[in-house]
């Protein structure tokens, strides 16, 4: 479990990162918090020729409160999200979720951009991004584009960000006073990847977004559940049951701790518990 040799670059600007990514022969891999990449390299599942450490670019570590949105730099670490008053005020769902992500040692290093960019199907933050209907700012030498959350996650470890692009920001709408949020996850030990989890956002106009994680090949929103739940000011038992029935639409994917049948059962449980939490 030792990584093969690689070159190491630590640019101090975004253009510096992007110009390295353009050079295909370098076979670059971006290093943010390293909490997934380092084990994968040590297992020799990832064998990049060049590691591009993006922690030298200070603007990637900013949390910015703009009139319209909260912009979170890709290098903002979980622990910084956890401690941020701005996040607590305007993105309370993130504050609810962070304590469930692994353990303090991992939260001290892991970053929001790393989690969004990896698209691990059982990770929390992709589902948060989906439930909040946020956007991902992606930069390359060709320019900057914003990819909406619901088009960003393509599959297991697969996103709309290509190998010569860098996630620069996560852009989230600011929470409004009457918005409500729900979250629930089930894991075998505290901090493990979830066996099933869900993030829910209810807008002021009673539009509901529901994003599951840990149940399928990627974090995903389920339109049929959202349809059942939207327009209701609160969730009666029968609405919850209808939403649970709609959860059967998910293409469940099993893992070592839970087969597809278990995932289906647990998806309904987390949905019910998250909804009860926002009553």
């Amino acid at each position: 479990m030792k990584a093969p040799d690689f070159s190491y670059e630590k640019p101090n600007s975004i253009p510096g990162i992007l110009s390295l990514l353009e050079k295909d022969e370098l076979e670059c891999q971006l290093l943010a918090g390293g909490q997934s990449l380092m084990p994968m390299m040590n297992f020799r599942m990832a064998t990049p020729k060049t590691i591009v450490d993006i922690s030298g670019v200070s603007e990637l570590s900013l949390i910015t409160d703009t009139p319209k949105a909260i912009e979170i730099g890709a290098m903002v670490r979980y622990c910084e999200l956890q401690d941020s008053d701005v996040i607590q005020k305007f993105c309370p769902l993130i504050t609810m979720v962070i304590p469930h992500i692994a353990h303090p040692a991992i939260r001290n290093r892991g970053t929001i951009g790393g989690s969004i960019g990896l698209s691990d199907p059982a990770a929390e933050l992709p589902a948060v991004l989906l439930a909040l209907d946020g956007k991902v700012e992606v930069s390359s030498n060709k320019g900057i584009r914003e990819e909406p959350a619901n088009k960003f996650f393509k599959g297991i470890y697969e996103t709309a960000c290509s190998s010569n692009e860098l996630i620069t920001k996560i852009i989230l709408p600011k929470a409004l006073p009457k918005q409500k949020f729900g979250f629930y996850e089930i894991s075998r030990r505290h901090g493990d990847y979830a066996m099933a989890g869900v993030c829910i956002a209810q807008d002021q106009d009673l539009t509901v977004r529901v994003a599951f994680f840990g149940v399928a090949e990627k974090a995903l929103r389920i339109a049929s559940i959202e349809k059942v739940l939207s327009g209701n000011s609160d969730f009666s038992q029968s609405i919850i049951e209808n939403a649970q029935n709609a959860a059967e639409d998910i293409q469940f994917e099993g893992d070592m701790n839970a087969g597809p049948e278990v995932k289906k059962h647990l998806a309904k449980v987390v949905l019910e518990r998250a909804l009860e939490g926002i009553k």
């Binding site: 479990m1 093969p4 084990p39 505290h190 070592m256 278990v262 059962h265």
Partner: protein, 792 residues
């Protein structure tokens, strides 16, 4: 036990007190000295290529490209290594019929488990060695893998060893009374279940590691070793590498946990020693976590078909079971992989009185990592078989689980006595432990709490276990069967010229505090301040000969040897002091480093002054006095095959019937380990043991697919309990001193691991009982709980 009975005539200074470990400060400052910290001049690294297949014929190995890789010094295949080693066979003569083929450090023609070493690259660094491994080209012919223990015994099953007629390694049958006849009685209620216990492993913080160095001029091999039994390994290396035993030195410095994992013969470690000899330079091998998961011994892996018969009054008529255990492709050398099964046959039902017992053990080869002795060998299975069935019986006949225990536990005044299986017991206290347990857990309050919560749809359960633990083994454990494993241990105590004590012992320190209790005993018995006692363990060149630390023997056997040695030195010092002081030895004593008058405590001469006379100014002594300021004593258990301990434990759990998750709300353990030398260390041994028991009950399992591939060989996927999963664990003691020693200490290291799984399973089934279902498989995962509940 005859001996210095006067040791405990007066209050002790250290024994029985929670003296902080003197090595804790050094270790917490990061100044531990572990094997991987060793850097020797010219040292190189052994990097093993391991079979990716569970079962495959090795057609060819091409090392040409790898030999040219950067940093590579040598590459050896299994056949290259085999030329330099006598093969080993994991059988013992007191386990008649046990069979296992000769084993070599690396696979020869056939690889028989995923992870078996096949070739080894010797390289200037571990990382470069891993690069070179990728260039070795091996052609395998995959063979069908035998993974399921029961299928392995079918006549259709492929054979793992062509020279045998089946995959059965060993079978033992025990019959006491006549169970079938007894259970057919009209008044007998018979309950049958199939219980399953998953494979798990020890997960030591410090992985297995060795640095081997060879000194050609002296023909000396030095092995730095992260293990538990240096003298055993000294013998094994000498025998199988054809060296003189005195030319093999095994040295253990600090060790980061072992739990029985590090008391076996591993091919990669033996190969590292061979390579050091071949290359005449130091070679390091440190297992990484992936290697640990597929090569450290695994444990448990049992399917048990069990029945119990009880009468309406709760009395046990008899217990019968058929145990099938999978041990991997070989029986581990030299302790064998049949001991766990043997223990289960010996120990099931041991706390209880009953007449009829019928047990069959089947030890089965499979293409998985080798299975062998891990903390609480066999105990968690034996205790779960009898105690989970006993509580199930209580539910069936409508009796309280405590009452059914009290009905059947051997009375505290019945000792010495024997169990149904012939185990000889003395100095046990099942009823006293259970009473103390009920007192500290407040059972009645828990019952009313359970009632209240059930009304709200919250399912809480309370479960118990009464257990015995094999500790302080005599030669009857291994030595009798021909294993090079000492059952006796020695201690040497020496007074230096400054009046300090230097003590050494053949038991070993793996992080549990052995050295600390040796220090306490020596200081207390001899009469010096504990700060003036220096302890050496783990080096075959300097410590007395002995077995090391396993089977909960460090305190009970190593401690007694230390007591005897310290007492012997004290007598020598006092007889010398008597001459110097022109007093009678029996009127003198030693206290706080001074020779004193027993009657008044008046200080007569300091130990430093006395030693200086002896060492420097012997001219002041009579010519016929040649004082020995050093004493060595050895100790083995003679009166019994083992010194059993006992205990009672309880778990309080909450089962989330929608998610299948089990939360342990509280755990209580009452343990009778005889004299408690250091309460803090014993309590933490119990707690650590309970946590490993929680692991086996709820989390830990080596998951294999049908092809024999381990699916979860990483710390992300193999779940050990972490701080968040550890409940409050309350520990209390009953102290019934063993009469087999002056110290009176029994072992305490394994009780938690042995008892906790049964208590937790009982608590879960108690919680589930209103829902008319139960779970009989460990670990009790959410998926298994949901299936038991019929939710999926």
């Amino acid at each position: 036990m005859t001996g210095p009975a006067t040791v405990f005539d007066k209050p002790t200074d250290y024994i029985g007190k929670s003296i902080p470990r003197s090595d804790a400060s050094r270790l917490l400052r990061g100044k531990g000295h572990y094997v991987d910290d060793i850097q020797l001049p010219r040292m190189v690294h052994a990097v093993f290529l391991r079979s990716p297949h569970a079962h495959a014929r090795i057609i060819s190995i091409d090392i040409k490209e790898a030999e040219k890789a950067k940093g590579v010094i040598a590459i050896y295949t299994g056949n290259d290594i085999a030329k330099h080693v006598k093969p080993y066979v994991g059988v013992l003569s007191h386990l008649p019929g046990l069979r296992s083929p000769a084993q070599y450090p690396l696979a020869l023609d056939v690889a028989r488990w995923q992870g078996e070493p096949v070739a080894v690259v010797v390289c200037s660094s571990r990382a470069l060695g891993e690069d070179a491994l990728e260039l070795i080209n091996i052609t395998y012919e995959p063979l069908p893998a035998v993974t399921d223990t029961l299928d392995a015994l079918s006549s259709e099953s492929p054979l793992i060893h062509g020279e045998y007629d089946s995959n059965l390694a060993w079978k033992r049958e025990v019959e006491v009374g006549s169970l079938d006849k007894a259970l057919s009685g009209d008044d007998v209620i018979v309950i049958e279940r199939q219980m399953k216990f998953g494979r798990h492993t020890g997960v030591t913080l410090e992985t297995r590691a060795t640095v081997c160095d060879y000194v050609p001029g002296d023909d000396e091999l030095i092995m730095y070793y992260a293990g538990q039994a240096p003298h055993m390994l000294q013998f094994i290396l000498a025998k199988h590498l054809s060296m003189l035993e005195e030319n093999v030195r095994v040295v253990a410095h600090d060790i980061g946990g072992s739990f029985g994992i590090k008391v076996h013969t591993y091919g990669d470690e033996i190969a590292t020693a061979i390579i050091a000899k071949l290359l005449k330079r130091p070679v390091k091998f440190t297992a990484d976590r992936l290697e640990s998961f597929v090569t450290d011994i695994h444990a448990r892996d049992h399917v048990v078909n069990v029945k119990i018969g009880v009468r309406k009054d709760g009395s046990i008529v008899g217990i019968g079971f058929n145990d099938f255990t999978g041990i991997g492709p070989f029986s581990m050398y030299p302790r064998t992989s049949a001991i766990e099964c043997n223990q289960i046959l010996n120990l099931t039902g041991a706390p209880y009185q009953f007449e009829h017992y019928q047990a069959v053990g089947n030890v089965v080869f499979q293409n998985k990592t080798l299975m062998c002795q891990y903390r609480a060998v066999g105990h968690p299975i034996a205790m779960a078989i009898s105690d989970c069935m006993l509580e199930e019986a209580a539910r069936v006949i409508g009796m309280d689980p405590v009452q059914i225990r009290k009905k059947n536990l051997i009375p505290d005044d019945a000792y010495p006595t024997k169990s149904a299986t012939g185990m000889r017991f003395d100095d046990l206290s099942h009823h006293a432990c259970l009473d103390k347990l009920l007192e500290i857990m407040n059972y009645d309050k828990l019952l009313s709490d359970q009632e209240e919560h059930r009304k709200k749809g919250i399912y809480r359960g309370i479960g118990f276990v009464s257990l015995v633990e094999v500790t302080n083994p005599s030669p009857m454990f291994y030595g009798i069967g021909g294993a090079p494993i000492a059952s006796q241990d020695g201690a040497t105590v020496r007074l230096d010229a400054a009046g300090a004590l230097h003590v050494s012992s053949s038991v070993t320190e793996q992080g549990q505090g052995t050295n600390a209790i040796l220090q306490q005993i020596a200081a207390d018995v001899f009469g010096v301040s504990i700060e003036r006692v220096k302890v050496t363990t783990g080096d075959t060149a300097t410590v007395p000969y002995g077995g090391g630390t396993w089977a909960s023997r460090g305190a009970g056997i190593g401690g007694e040897a230390m007591l005897q040695a310290a007492y012997a030195l004290k007598e020598q010092v006092l007889s010398t002091a008597a001459v110097i002081l022109q007093a009678k030895a029996e009127e003198l004593d030693i206290a706080s480093g001074e020779v004193v008058l027993k009657s008044s405590g008046e200080q007569k001469i300091s130990l430093g002054d006395l030693a200086k006379i002896v060492y420097y100014r012997g001219n002041e002594l009579p010519n016929d006095l040649q004082p020995e300021l050093i004493a060595t004593r050895h100790y083995r258990v003679t009166d019994f095959p083992f010194v059993f301990t006992n205990g009672a434990m309880a778990a309080h759990v909450e089962v989330d019937t929608n998610t299948g998750l089990i939360k342990i709300l509280h755990f209580w353990a009452v343990e009778d380990c005889g004299r408690v030398i250091n309460p803090q260390l014993v309590d933490d041994q119990i707690r650590g043991g309970v946590v490993q028991g929680i692991g086996g009950a709820l989390y830990e399992e080596c998951v294999y697919d049908a092809d024999g591939q381990m699916q979860n060989a990483s710390m992300a996927d193999y779940l050990v309990p972490m701080a968040s999963e550890m409940p409050e664990i309350t520990v209390a003691h009953v102290e019934t001193f063993t009469k087999t020693s002056v110290l009176g200490a029994k072992g305490a290291g394994e009780a938690g691991t042995g008892g906790a799984p049964a208590a937790i399973m009982n608590a879960v089934n108690n919680a589930l009982s209103p829902l008319n279902c139960g779970i009989w498989q460990m670990p009790m995962t959410p998926e298994r709980v949901l299936r038991a509940l019929g939710k999926i």
